[in-house]
């Protein structure tokens, strides 16, 4: 059906798009391993100094640790609250599912800058002193991870025959809690893991909330990245590439797991 001409056309389109997408990443990588790269097109020499300098910077390690702590706590909290909530919605109140589907769009529809205006005002003067602490980040990260987590887990719930599984478990003498932990939860594993990895790489890149609500009072990776903008470009490149390697790893894991689930 196709002639050589049109197949060449498709190849050109696909490869040039990939090239454009990959150029900033490649350039950053080359910059991070070059000893100096002044007003010339190609670098002068190669070195891994910038990486070792980065990994010896205690401030980087601390910021990275804080980011990991906040992201992982937020995701654990999300999983802990969202899975039982979806179970209850699907098993006891199926009518609520429609409402939930609208509610989980809110974190998508409302730009983070807008939410942070309200958050800053509500919690800055309240008795709950959480502005400037990781607690407010964990709360907001819970909401922005919600659409991803809810969709992924709800899809898994739709894929299994929840009512029949529960009836079978009850008939065999299991309590609802037993059935939930021993039968439903293992069935969700893959969908849950994929959504956790995906949300993790997404949360690690979050900047708006951390900048407006917390800033330098609790320097996360993104804030550190921003604060380092005045230092050597090679150093920041090494920083970006390190961050990027983690993102790639987790997105790759997520797609691996979700492909295995199908």
């Amino acid at each position: 059906m196709q002639n050589a001409n049109s197949s060449l056309f498709h190849k050109v389109i696909v490869y040039s798009t990939i090239a454009v997408l990959i150029i900033p990443i490649l350039a950053t990588f080359v910059y991070s391993i070059s000893s100096s790269w002044g007003a010339t097109i190609l670098p002068n020499g190669f070195t891994t100094d910038w990486y070792s300098q980065l990994w010896q910077d205690p401030r980087f390690i601390a910021a990275f640790g804080r980011s990991l702590l906040v992201c992982i706590s937020a995701l654990l909290l999300s999983a802990l609250l969202i899975i039982p909530a979806i179970f209850v919605v699907f098993y006891y109140f199926p009518k609520l599912n429609g409402l939930m589907n609208i509610l989980i769009l809110l974190p998508f529809a409302v730009p983070p800058v807008v939410s942070s205006v309200g958050l800053l005002q509500i919690y800055a003067d309240s008795s709950i002193q959480i502005v400037g602490t990781p607690w407010i980040l964990i709360g907001t990260y819970f909401t922005i991870a919600l659409p991803f987590m809810y969709r992924a887990i709800a899809n898994s719930f739709e894929a299994i025959n929840l009512a029949d599984l529960m009836d079978a478990a009850h008939l065999l003498g299991a309590s609802t809690a037993q059935a939930f932990f021993l039968i439903i939860l293992p069935n969700l594993k893959k969908g849950l893991l994929a959504s956790l990895f995906l949300s993790f790489s997404f949360l690690l890149g979050e900047f708006v909330f951390s900048n407006i609500l917390v800033g330098t009072r609790y320097e996360t990776l993104q804030i550190y990245l921003y604060n380092m903008r005045q230092t050597s470009g090679h150093f920041t490149s090494a920083l970006v590439m390190t961050y990027f390697a983690f993102i790639f790893l987790f997105t790759w894991l997520a797609s691996r797991i979700s492909r295995g689930a199908q």
Partner: protein
């Protein structure tokens, strides 16, 4: 006699099971409570605060904040800059992504999977790190800027102005558009293209009369998400220009977290207008989708 009493027993049975069911549903509803509480604290409450306080001016209920926005050329410029960046970058990104995805369908599945997962990964390359990467390649002494200057293609490139920002917006919109459009192209059957070319249609005629009408709901839906994504974008532009380029998210943020001139209520009013604008665009989109091919069937 017996035949009459049986339904009565059954109804009372149903009633008591209903009552039992309501009681058994009380405990599960408690499970929803912490979830609902957290969602309220961090999503609903801030939205309500923004909505109410946009109408509060100097402790009184008034429309003064909104008046101030429409009197301020600076804030209006923020809106128009945001809109221009959002619409232009979304249009260009959706065209690139549509071409990319339609060509990608001609690749074998192994290569296709690989390319899709690569695009997946670049979708997470945004915000501050992306701004850095762009400074390295397109900044005043960026590698690409120098290369293009050497061959005389450009005189100079200002990454920190309108066109540089457009480039960075397009960059983060293309992977998102690709991910959203990729499944939609499965709706196109290869047989249709074969049939139309057998009947003598040219390639552009296939796309004009069959391909695009079938894809239009997906294209419109994706376009809306791209616009919302670009209107709400803050990290890339803030990292690139340190808040010196006037877009609406930067205006909002500087009114609540800047060092001087803190006016949270004005920020709230701008936020409400931003949400209304996004809602309006979505509404138009819904109207267009309902008139498109899929809805007619």
């Amino acid at each position: 006699m017996n035949t009459i009493s049986v339904p009565a027993v059954e109804t009372s049975n149903i009633k008591s099971t209903r009552k039992l069911l309501r009681l058994t549903k009380f405990k599960p509803a408690l499970v929803l409570l912490p979830f609902a509480l957290l969602f309220f604290m961090f999503q609903i409450a801030p939205m309500l605060w923004v909505l109410f306080n946009s109408f509060i001016y100097e402790d009184e209920f008034s429309l003064e904040n909104y008046q101030e926005i429409f009197d301020s050329a600076f804030i209006l410029q923020g809106f128009s800059n945001s809109l221009w960046l959002a619409v232009t970058s979304s249009l260009i990104a959706i065209i690139i992504a549509a071409l990319f995805v339609s060509s990608l369908r001609r690749f074998d599945s192994r290569a296709r999977d690989l390319i899709v997962s690569f695009t997946n990964m670049t979708a997470n390359f945004s915000g501050v790190p992306l701004a850095f990467a762009f400074i390295i390649i397109l900044g005043f002494n960026g590698a690409l800027t120098l290369l293009l200057k050497k061959y005389g293609i450009i005189d100079d490139f200002n990454l920190y102005g309108q066109w540089g920002l457009l480039a960075i917006y397009i960059y983060f919109q293309v992977p998102l558009a690709t991910l959203l459009l990729y499944p939609a192209f499965d709706a196109l059957s290869d047989d249709w293209q074969a049939a139309s070319s057998l009947l003598g249609a040219k390639n552009w005629q296939f796309w004009r009369y069959i391909g695009l009408p079938v894809l239009s709901p997906a294209l419109l839906g994706t376009f809306i998400i791209l616009i919302a994504n670009a209107m709400g974008a803050y990290a890339s532009i803030y990292a690139l220009t340190s808040g010196n380029y006037n877009v609406i998210t930067v205006r909002i943020a500087s009114l609540v977290s800047g060092d001087i001139f803190l006016e949270p209520n004005l920020a709230a009013a701008i936020s409400v207008l931003l949400i209304l604008l996004l809602a309006f665009i979505t509404l138009i989109n819904q109207l267009l989708i309902s008139r498109s091919y899929h809805a007619k069937r």
